[in-house]
């Protein structure tokens, strides 16, 4: 695992509502081990001396961690967000960890990528899933228990590191740079508004349809060109 910190700076590990201070420290240590450095915490219950104790030689990562009250703020400058999940979600299909990592490297090396990990007991809510482009599952034996938070982060980062060291041939860049998550979100909102106004989305199907739209447009990893086309399409086919 060579040190390509420049490349790894573009990845942000985002812990959503983490409860255990020890886990936050262990995540920092696992990031240090695998060469990552950007940690974001959303509504964290508190970094305390217990976190610093488990963050052996990795306190710098804890100290530079950014705190957010809202997940949307934590992802808005990113372009691709991958959410770890241990259960299948009705409206948010998931890919395997291996597929997710391959997907990350299909984008230009400048793309800013977020890795989302939910609360230790509850995982990510459907609402939080909407902030992601892709969901991924880490293969495991049996259904229970799911991986410990720090373990899920470790396996994910280790796979990214390993993949990064593959030859260029094996990981050809084929896609265009996506919009920021903020712009993607705005585009999705515009589409949803149109669908609402045309009563395509209504009281009884709202949750289901909204999540389907989020999933679809998430996986599209919208570029500026995509947005232009989609907005044009929607104004033509579903005119007000």
């Amino acid at each position: 695992m060579t040190d390509q910190s420049g490349l790894k700076k573009r990845f942000a590990v985002i812990l959503v509502r983490p409860e255990s201070p020890e886990n936050i420290g262990l995540v920092a240590r696992n990031m240090k081990n695998t060469g990552f450095e950007v940690l974001r915490l959303v509504q964290e219950a508190g970094i305390n001396p217990k976190s610093r104790r488990t963050a052996v030689h990795s306190r710098d990562i804890l100290e530079r961690a950014c705190l957010y009250a809202d997940l949307k703020d934590a992802v808005e400058d990113l372009q691709l967000v991958f959410a770890a999940t241990s259960k299948r979600r009705k409206n948010f299909p998931s890919i395997s960890l291996k597929e997710a990592v391959a997907e990350m490297f299909r984008f230009p090396a400048s793309a800013r990528i977020g890795l989302l990990f939910g609360n230790e007991r509850t995982g990510l809510t459907s609402e939080e899933m909407r902030c992601s482009n892709f969901r991924f599952m880490i293969p495991q034996s049996g259904r229970q228990p799911s991986y410990n938070l720090a373990s899920a982060v470790l396996l994910t980062l280790f796979h990214i590191s390993t993949y990064e060291n593959l030859g260029d041939k094996e990981r050809a860049v084929v896609k265009e740079e996506p919009l920021s998550r903020k712009e993607q979100e705005e585009c999705i909102r515009l589409v949803l508004d149109k669908l609402e106004r045309k009563r395509f989305i209504h009281e009884t199907n709202r949750l289901h349809m909204t999540e389907m739209v989020y999933d679809l447009f998430g996986r599209l990893t919208l570029t500026a060109k995509d947005r232009k086309l989609i907005l044009a399409l929607f104004s033509k086919t579903i005119s007000d």
Copy 2:
């Protein structure tokens, strides 16, 4: 990761002088996640309620764990032992995790394999290294910190699980079944005794030579046929 518990029963995770009760519990959980079940503890400082707290849904592994006072006893029924190390050792060359896992699958599917992990702070001593056939290092970014104990176990087991699921073509069995570690150890002792008696090994080179012999014969993964040949060779070339 399909459940092939039959295959995985032949792997034993061996923690040598683990200090942290939480770590022992986390190891059990990581074993459960990746489908392993045999845990052996050598001179453990104590499984206590803290271990059971971190061993979420994995207490059965803790409860079935076998305790040993001596590492030699913990490995003697096994045939191949792989020791995790985070530092290079003078007389015990190491391979990468990836190479180690490939090596494991070069032996018949019946071979009983031990995975050795040392104390959290000190790792394995050279004396303990002698109980292994191979040493392996998990790639990491930078020298400090080394992986947390439970993290090192997790990455190792996850790689074994992934490898196990590869097609048979990719992991052809090419080697013969090794002797038990107890028999390997006896064979190595016989060789060392001969070398001592012929003053090939003496006061000033004893440690160095002994470790070199352990490393060499470890990597040979001696079969019954090998033992016969080696003992014959040694009695011919180095007769008493």
